[in-house]
Symmetry: C2
Subunit: 628 residues, 2 copies
C-alpha cells in the first residue's frame, strides 16, 4: 500500500499521531463554525481512525461505487465531524465544505447520510450501523464474493442496544472475518457514564462469548492500534473487535474525560486547537481497492410467474413464496431472507429453489432488515419476510433505511384478525400505518394469488421500502393470471351506473366486500367495489371517480386498527375533492382474542355482515339528510 | 412448603415426573380439541415447570393481585398449553376450561394474555417477556421492596432477539437476584434448528459474560432441575439462568426431537397420551406467598405544577421535566426512566428531585419500555422518555404493552424537523402515526409549556399507552397557567364570525399558524386556529364546528410525514360530516437535512409562509369552484 503525505520526513508513527491531531483539530474547527455537533466524541476516536485510514483502509473516493472498496461505517454517527475530517484529509472534500458542517443545504449533515457518495447508510440512531455492516460483509462472503473489509466504528453507549447483539451473533454465525469493529470505549455517554465505564474487558468478554476475536488496547497508542488492526485483518473464520479504551475529548484539558461535554461545542476552540498543536494540512492518499473481481452486472429477465385459476383457493402468502421463487429463476440479483418462519411465509420455496441466495436470519428481525439494507448497498434486491407483526421491532431500522435511501422489500404474512386462533400477539393490526409513515414507501395489500404474484415481480425494481401484506388463510382467486396490476393502481371490481355506495377494500376484506355486494344486490342495492391493493401510492383518480359516482357515500373496510390504515389513506386522497363525504370506516376496534378467522372478522365488524349494515346505515341516513 | 396431591404415596421425585407427564398429556389434550397450538413446545419444558410449580413457586391463584406473589412469565408464549395445564393442575381453571383452548371467547388464547388474571402480560412476540420480567424484578428491588421471585420461561429461539440481551445486561446491572430464567433449549425453532442447537454451553457462556450465574442441566432430569432451582434461589447479587437441554415433543416418539412439528397438533393424540402413561388427575397446591410486607397504597394528591408566564419562552420538553418532577412530589407511585438522554428530555429534573424513583435505562429503549410495563404490573405509574425518534425500536413492545392492557406514559422530545441541525436520524417524523395505531392509546402534542404541564399531570392516571410529543426548541408560552386542557380536548385559539379557513395545528405548528393568521389578518383574511393538542382522542365536535363554519375549507399543518399524523386524524374525524371538504395537509414530504429549525420548517413547507400560501390557494380555487 502506498501512502503520500505532505510531511514525508515523519516516521509513520509520528504521521499517525499528527494525522490524529489534525482530525481532532478539524472536528473542533467544523463544530465551532456550525455552533453545534459532537467534537468530543470525535476526538476520542481520532487515533483509531487515523491509523485505519492511513494504513488499512482501501478506498477510491473518486469511484465510490467500486465493488471492491472497503466499507467504513460510523455506527456512532454523532462522530460525523471525525468522518468529515477524514474525508478532508483524504482529499474527498474541500476545506470550505468541511466548514459547512450542519449548515442548511450542506452534504455534511449532523449525522452521516448518503447525501455524501462515500456514506453507505445514514447513521445516528445507535445500533443501526453495525447490523448493516454485517449485511455488507455477508454479501461479500456469499452471493458476490469480494475482497473488501467492513470497518465499523461503534460507540460504547451503543453496546446497550439489543440490535448490536443480534449483529454480534450473526457475524460469528456467518464467520464474517471480513468485518472489524472498532469499539471506542470513551466511558461517557450523553448524560453520564456508561454501564461499564472503562471496563474494556467486560466488552471483550461478551464479544468472545459471542464467538468474536477481541483485542483490548489503549485507543490513543497508535502503535498498539496498528498492531491490533494487523491482527484483526489476519484473523480467519471469525469477526474481530478492537476494544479501545479512549478518552472523550482527548487532547484538550478543558473537556478531556469530563462529563457534560457530549454534543457540545468547545468553549474556546482557538485555545483547544493551540493545545492540540495548531492546524495542520496533512493530506493522505488512501490506498485504492484491488481491481479484481471486476464489477458484476445482473441480467433482468421477466420472470415466469405462477398462475392461479380463478375460483380456486390459495393463500396470498403462498403466492408470495411461489412468485419469489420464480423471480429468483430469472433474476440472480434477488436474495431472500426470513425470520425463522419460512415455512409460514413460504419464503421457504425460494430457499428450496435458490439455497445460495436465501438467508435464515433466525428470530432477529432487526438484523434481518439491516442485512437487507446491506445487500442493497451492494446492489442486490433483497426480500425479507416474517409474520407481519414481527416487523414492528424493526421500525427504527425501516425508518433509517428510508433515510439511507435504501431499496428493499418486506413481506409480512399473517396480517390482521384473519390470522385466527393464534391470538392478538401474532396479528399485525398496525403494520399499514407503520409502513405508510415511511418516506418514499410503497404499501401493497393484495387480495388474491395472481395479484400477489404480479406485485412481487413489480416490487423487485421499486425504489424505497416496499411493503407487501399477506394473509394467512386460503382465499379465492378472483383475478385472471397476468391481469395488469401496477404500483399505484386499483381495480374496480364491480360497478353499475346506479351504484349508491363505494366500498373500498383491500386484501382479506375484498372477499367480504364481494359477499356483501352480492347480498345487497339481492335487495336491489347496487354498490361499487374498489380493490385498493396499492394503499401507497393510492389510486386517487379511481377513488375520486368512484366516490363521486356514489355521491360521497363510502365504506372503507380493513383488517387493521382504525388509525393510519386503508381508511386514513382513502380519506387523505379525497381530502380536497370538495365532495360532501359520508364515509364509514370499518376497522378493528377492540383487542381480538383467539378464534376462527370468520368468527374474528365478524366480531371485529369487518365482515360482509358489517359492510351490509354500514351500507344500510348510510342509505337510511340519506332521507334525513335530504330533509335537513 | 406444603404439597398436596391425590397420589400421596409417590416420592417427590416420582410426583414431579408424574406431574410433568400430566402437563404433557393435558397440553396434547387441549391442542387436540382446539385443532391448533404448540404441544411439542410445551412438552419440552414440562419437567422444568412441574418442579418449579410443585416446589418453588409461591402464588395464590385466588388472590392474583397479592403483592408478594411470585411472577411466572412465559416469554415463550407459544408454550401456553403448558401454562394452562399448570393452571389446571393448580386448580385455577377447570378441566372444561382447559379444553376451551383457542376457542372464540375463551380466556385461554393461543398465546397467554391478561384475559386470565394470573397472566401479567401478553406474550407471543418473542423477546418481550424477559425484559418485562426484569422490570417486575427491578420494582421489588427498588421502589417497592417485595420478597417475590420472577420466573421467566424463555425459548432458545428467542435468544436471537436483541431485546433479550438488553434484558440480560440490565438484570445484572441492577443485580436482580430475584430473577431466574428457565431457558428451554429444545434445539428446534419453527422452521429448523436454532443457531446453537443443543450447545447449552454457548448460552451459559454468553449469560456468564453478561454477569449472570448459569446452571447447565438436563431439562428432563427432575432432580437436576430441583438442584438448579435450589442453587438459583440461593444465589445473591446476580440474576440466574437455568440452561436446560431438552427435547421438543419429549415423551412421544412420533414427534420427539423431530423437525417439522412446531405449532402442530399431534397426528394421533390418543396414542401419544397412552405413550405418556395416560391421563392423570394430580392436583397440586401451590405454596402461597408470604403475607409481609402488606399491600401498599399510594396517596393521590394534586401536584403543584410549574406555571409559565405568557409571552416568555420555554421548550415543551423542559416543561415535561419540570411538571414530572412536581408530579413526583405529590405522587409516590410515579416513577421515571430515560434512555440516556435525560439532560435533553429534562427527565433529569425528576432524577434530581426523586433519585430513588428514577431509572437510567441507558441506550436500551426496548428494555426501558418493558421496565415501564413491569412497573405498571406492580401498580406504579411509569413515565419513559427519550428523543421521540428513539421510540421507533420499541414499536413491538408498545404493541404488546397495549395487548397486555398496560398503562404507561411515553414522552418523546426532539420531534420533527424543528429539531434542527442534528439531521433526519434524530427527527421523529412517524411517531404520531406509530402511537395512533395502538389500541386504546392517547396521543398528545402540546404547543406550550403550560399546556404540557397540565397534560403531564393528566397522563398519570390515563389508562393505556399515553404518548406525549415534545419539541426541542424554546417556544412561546401562549396559554395562561392552569388553563383547562383535557385529554380529548382542543383549543380554539382564534375565531371570528367571518373566518374563511380553519387551520388545525399542534405543537410547533401552532406557532406558525398564529404567525400566518396575523399576516392573513393584515390582508383582511380571517382564519380560525384550532390547537389540536389531543390528537387521539381527537375533539371531533370542535373540529366539525370549526370546519363547518369555514365551509369545509381546512388546512392541517404538522411537523410529521403526511401519513398517519394530524392530517389523517383530522380527516378521520370529519369523515361522516357530509361537509364538502377542501382540505390541504401541510406536512414534511422530503427527507430533511440539517439546518436551523426555521430553515427546515420553511423548506418542508410547514411554516407560516406555507400556511399563508395554502390559505391563498384554497380561496383562489373558490371562485372557480363556484363557477363550476
Amino acid at each position: 500500500m502506498t501512502t503520500k503525505t505532505h510531511i514525508p520526513s515523519l516516521t509513520r508513527t509520528e504521521l499517525w499521531r499528527e494525522l490524529a491531531q489534525q482530525l481532532r483539530v478539524d472536528s473542533i474547527r467544523a463544530t465551532a463554525v456550525s455552533g453545534s455537533g459532537h467534537p468530543t466524541s470525535s476526538m476520542s476516536a481520532a487515533d483509531l481512525i487515523a491509523v485505519l485510514a492511513e494504513k488499512y483502509l482501501r478506498y477510491d473516493f473518486e469511484y465510490p461505487d467500486h465493488p471492491n472498496n472497503d466499507h467504513l461505517i460510523f455506527s456512532k454517527g454523532h462522530a460525523s465531524p471525525l468522518l468529515y475530517a477524514l474525508y478532508a484529509a483524504g482529499g474527498a472534500i474541500s476545506e470550505e465544505e468541511l466548514l459547512s458542517l450542519r449548515r442548511f443545504g450542506s452534504r455534511l449533515e449532523g449525522h452521516p447520510s448518503p447525501a455524501l457518495p462515500w456514506v453507505d447508510v445514514a447513521t445516528g440512531s445507535l445500533g443501526f450501523g453495525l447490523p448493516v455492516g454485517v449485511g455488507v460483509a455477508l454479501a461479500a462472503k456469499t452471493v458476490d464474493p469480494r475482497p473488501y473489509r467492513v470497518w465499523v466504528l461503534l460507540g460504547d453507549s451503543e453496546m446497550a442496544e439489543g440490535s448490536v447483539w443480534e449483529a454480534f451473533e450473526h457475524a460469528s454465525h456467518w464467520q464474517l472475518d471480513n468485518l472489524t469493529v472498532v469499539l471506542d470505549v470513551n466511558r461517557l455517554g450523553q448524560s453520564g457514564e456508561t454501564m461499564h465505564g472503562w471496563n474494556a474487558i467486560s466488552y471483550a468478554d461478551r464479544a468472545r462469548s459471542f464467538g468474536w476475536e477481541a483485542f483490548v488496547i489503549d485507543g490513543h497508542d497508535v502503535d498498539a492500534i496498528d498492531a491490533a488492526y494487523a491482527e484483526a485483518t489476519a484473523t480467519n473464520g471469525r469477526p474481530t473487535v478492537v476494544v479501545a479504551r479512549t478518552k472523550k475529548g482527548k487532547g484538550v484539558a478543558a473537556v478531556e474525560n469530563k462529563p457534560g461535554w457530549h454534543g457540545k461545542v468547545l468553549d474556546d476552540p482557538e485555545a483547544a486547537i493551540a493545545e492540540l498543536g495548531g492546524q495542520r494540512a496533512i493530506r493522505i492518499e488512501i490506498a485504492p481497492p484491488p481491481d479484481d473481481p471486476p464489477p458484476r452486472g445482473y441480467a433482468v429477465e421477466e420472470p415466469a410467474l405462477p398462475a392461479y385459476e380463478v375460483g380456486t383457493k390459495t393463500a396470498t402468502r403462498r403466492a408470495y413464496g411461489e412468485a419469489l421463487a420464480a423471480l429468483g429463476d430469472t433474476r440472480k440479483d434477488v436474495v431472500a431472507m426470513d425470520g425463522e418462519v419460512s415455512n409460514s411465509t413460504f419464503s421457504g420455496l425460494f430457499a428450496d429453489a435458490h439455497p445460495d441466495r436465501f438467508f435464515e436470519m433466525f428470530v432477529a428481525e432487526q438484523q434481518m432488515i439491516a442485512a437487507a439494507v446491506g445487500f442493497d448497498v451492494r446492489g442486490l434486491k433483497p426480500f425479507a419476510s416474517a409474520f407481519a407483526a414481527f416487523f414492528s421491532p424493526t421500525y427504527d431500522f425501516i425508518r433509517m433505511a428510508a433515510i439511507s435511501r435504501a431499496s428493499l422489500r418486506v413481506a409480512g404474512s399473517h396480517a390482521g384478525v384473519a390470522t385466527g386462533e393464534d391470538g392478538p400477539s401474532q396479528m399485525a393490526l398496525e403494520d399499514i400505518a407503520m409502513f405508510r409513515a415511511v418516506h418514499g414507501s410503497t404499501v401493497l395489500y393484495p387480495s388474491d394469488a395472481n395479484q400477489t404474484a404480479k406485485l412481487v415481480a413489480l416490487a423487485a425494481d421499486n425504489p424505497g421500502i416496499t411493503y407487501l401484506r399477506a394473509t394467512r388463510a386460503d382465499t379465492r382467486v378472483i383475478y385472471p393470471p397476468h391481469a395488469p396490476f401496477r404500483i399505484g393502481g386499483s381495480w374496480l371490481l364491480r360497478a353499475t351506473p346506479r351504484d349508491r355506495v363505494t366500498i373500498a377494500a383491500a386484501g382479506i376484506t375484498v372477499h367480504e366486500a364481494i359477499e356483501a355486494a352480492r347480498r345487497l344486490a339481492v335487495e336491489g342495492i347496487g354498490v361499487r367495489i374498489l380493490d385498493v391493493y396499492s394503499i401507497k401510492p393510492i389510486d386517487r383518480a379511481a377513488l375520486l371517480a368512484s366516490v363521486r359516482a356514489t355521491n360521497g357515500r363510502l365504506v372503507t373496510v380493513e383488517d387493521h386498527w382504525p388509525e393510519g390504515g386503508l381508511g386514513d389513506a382513502v380519506l387523505a386522497a379525497l381530502a380536497d375533492s370538495g365532495l360532501p363525504l359520508h364515509a364509514v370506516n370499518l376497522a378493528v376496534r377492540d383487542i381480538p382474542g383467539s378464534g376462527q378467522p370468520a368468527e374474528l372478522l365478524h366480531a371485529a365488524r369487518i365482515d360482509a355482515d358489517a359492510i351490509v349494515s354500514a351500507v344500510h346505515s348510510l342509505l337510511a341516513a340519506e332521507p334525513a339528510r335530504k330533509a335537513a
